[in-house]
Symmetry: C2
Subunit: 351 residues, 2 copies
DNA sequence: CCGAAATCTTGAAACGTCTCAAACCGTTAT
DNA sequence: ATAACGGTTTGAGACGTTTCAAGATTTCGG
């Protein structure tokens, strides 16, 4: 026995028809007032609008979308809702979407290909107008399927989507690594350890390559001056655990500069150093990656490579909108430049 | 001239009807296979299922929801997509929703009542089955409007929703403050500063009250032993700026213990101490609130009051489901208990 | 004051699915 | 042989909106 407040199930919930009756016009006119008010005479328009607010009418998007074929929501498929990097991106997307009156359907693939697949299917069922997705891997077949279903998409944080297949928005990870390397070189460091070599992740590999490139450009052989320490997972805990392994390089020399694959590792590493009584940056310089908001909350402030996260989200949504509006498909690959943010976790090498 | 890949606009996109034709049955049967397979004879069922996969059919949720009156998505209205507290909650909600095959529509009210209002309206238009909302203020009228529109909701992080009006899920902030206070008292501290008195925010006021209650219970007059420092905003920057103001209490004595309204303030405060060469916990003990993941990444590890964020999200979604399924409206108020996590930012008072 | 043009309104047909009562069919009980 | 029955299938509306051709009304030049 449903309570009377639940109007969903009521037999004649107020719809366009009720409004029309109340205003003494036809349903078509009400629809026009809602969608193309300029077609309706001033007098009728206000009459209808009054009826709308009197009856507290709310458009039913199901009927609307079904008939018009236009959806009013877009999907956002992230790898990990919890990751601060993504949330900042999400803010950009949400904001841009809100401006177009679009609702964002949030789905989490939790790094799992099956979940990604299931979620993309859900988006297809929901007939979203488009989707911003951070793919779990290089396999684009699911995305192509989505495309065949008539759903536009933009890949986020993956620079390797062929430009004739789809749009993508990303940040140049190699350049980020380069910037970090150059910074440390400028401070006089000649040996740097890269902490976080999980090269299954494209982004991380590129950061490492950028670091090496910096040494190359400076006329120093990377194989000799860049040490690599691998981590099973890219989190703070692993970063902390690695301290002893990192502190002496292959030749038994004391490590004075570390470039971490992300900020979380860097924080963990700094914590480990702190526990051992070592000081940052005096004993060891540390550079992170991402510029999470906490990078600026800790002491010492973490020098790190910032990604324009918010902009990334906005851009993705803009590309998506363009694709949704335009009758002509035109894909675009937008690559942002990272930016080194200097704080207090790095200093000139002196002994 | 739309490209042929866009099947949305095609005149006869594959629907239930095409599948039916292909399988040599009626549309009604296909619908049954999809929704009540047990009604359909084995042979027919497989025949239909083959047709479905051959044609790569995907259900159109607009048609489905329009006819059945059932929606397959729920709304999630947060105060700030960026806040790590909310993202953890979001994960709980997303996960619970995914298990029921529901999609989560994410909206951000960015602490603005107007945006909350606009977003609730959007949810009503989308005819979501229900919504989890973190209200921006005490004004429930928008939520009541939503209810009248037939959308169920659960309030999150607000314990003050009357139980005959709607369900709510929250954490007992007073108890959290109490726990923090008891912890500091047990360590021998007799004077504590509460940093972050923005009492417009209910949650913060309760934490402060809890702290005072701890002193009261210990037979110490709160007015005399608890100092209050107000902040214009509850972020790290304000926390750092407040250091000098906090360091000496009203009577010119050195402050030895600080309880911060949230972890971000605590981190900023610790940073400020670090810059002045003061050590945590030796010079000042610091307690935070929230147990953000970074609390365990910094050095020293931050002692803080943890909220069961993930559980909070799950519980909210469960209550919502119950409300959506049950024909009988029954509201519930679920209050979780916070938990003090002891790390290394607090220690016994010694001089 | 006429007719045509411009402006406004509307009837009726979709959109894709679900639902329900009715139809169908092969069995079994009478 | 007939009736009744359980198990399957289906025809024919809805659901609430948009759309578009066509109808109704007003405006305006001549």
């Amino acid at each position: 026995m449903p309570k009377s407040t639940n109007r969903t199930s009521g037999p004649n919930r107020t719809g366009i028809t009720q409004v029309a009756a109340h205003a003494g016009v036809s349903p078509a006119t009400v629809s026009n007032v809602l969608n193309r008010p300029e077609l309706v005479a001033e007098a009728t328009r206000t009459k209808v609008q009054e009826a709308i607010s009197e009856l507290d009418y709310v458009r039913n998007s199901f009927g609307s979308s079904l008939r018009s074929g236009r959806s009013t929501s877009v999907g956002l498929l992230v790898l990990d809702v919890t990751n601060p990097f993504f949330t900042e991106v999400a803010r950009g997307i949400e904001e841009e979407a809100a401006e177009s009156g679009l609702a964002v359907v949030l789905l989490n693939s939790a790094e799992s290909p099956e979940r990604q697949r299931r979620n993309l299917r859900l988006l297809a069922e929901q007939r979203v107008a488009g989707a911003v997705v951070m793919p779990v891997d290089n396999d684009l077949s699911d995305l192509l399927w989505l495309q065949r279903q008539g759903v536009h998409w933009v890949a986020l944080d993956r620079g390797d989507v062929p430009e004739d297949v789809g749009s993508s928005v990303s940040v140049d990870n190699r350049e980020g690594g380069l910037a970090a390397g150059q910074h440390l070189l400028a401070l006089g460091h000649r040996r740097v350890t890269f902490l976080g070599g999980a090269f299954a992740i494209e982004q991380v590999r590129l950061r490492y390559e950028g670091l090496r490139a910096a040494f190359d450009e400076a006329g120093l052989d990377p194989d000799e001056h860049v040490e690599l320490v691998s981590l099973s997972q890219l989190n703070a805990h692993q970063g902390e655990r690695a301290v002893d392994q990192v502190l002496l390089d292959g030749a038994g020399r004391r490590t004075r500069a570390v470039f971490c694959a992300n900020d979380q590792i860097a924080l963990g590493f700094m914590k480990g150093l702190g526990k051992r009584g070592l000081r940052v940056p005096d004993d060891v310089s540390v550079v992170g990656y991402d510029d999470l908001s906490v990078a600026d909350m800790v002491h010492p402030g973490l020098t790190t490579v910032a990604q324009p996260k918010y902009e990334l989200g906005r851009a993705a949504m803009q590309l998506l909108s363009a694709q949704m509006d335009g009758s002509e498909q035109s894909y675009e690959r937008r690559i942002f430049r990272p930016r080194l943010v200097m704080r207090d976790s790095t200093c000139a090498l002196r002994d």
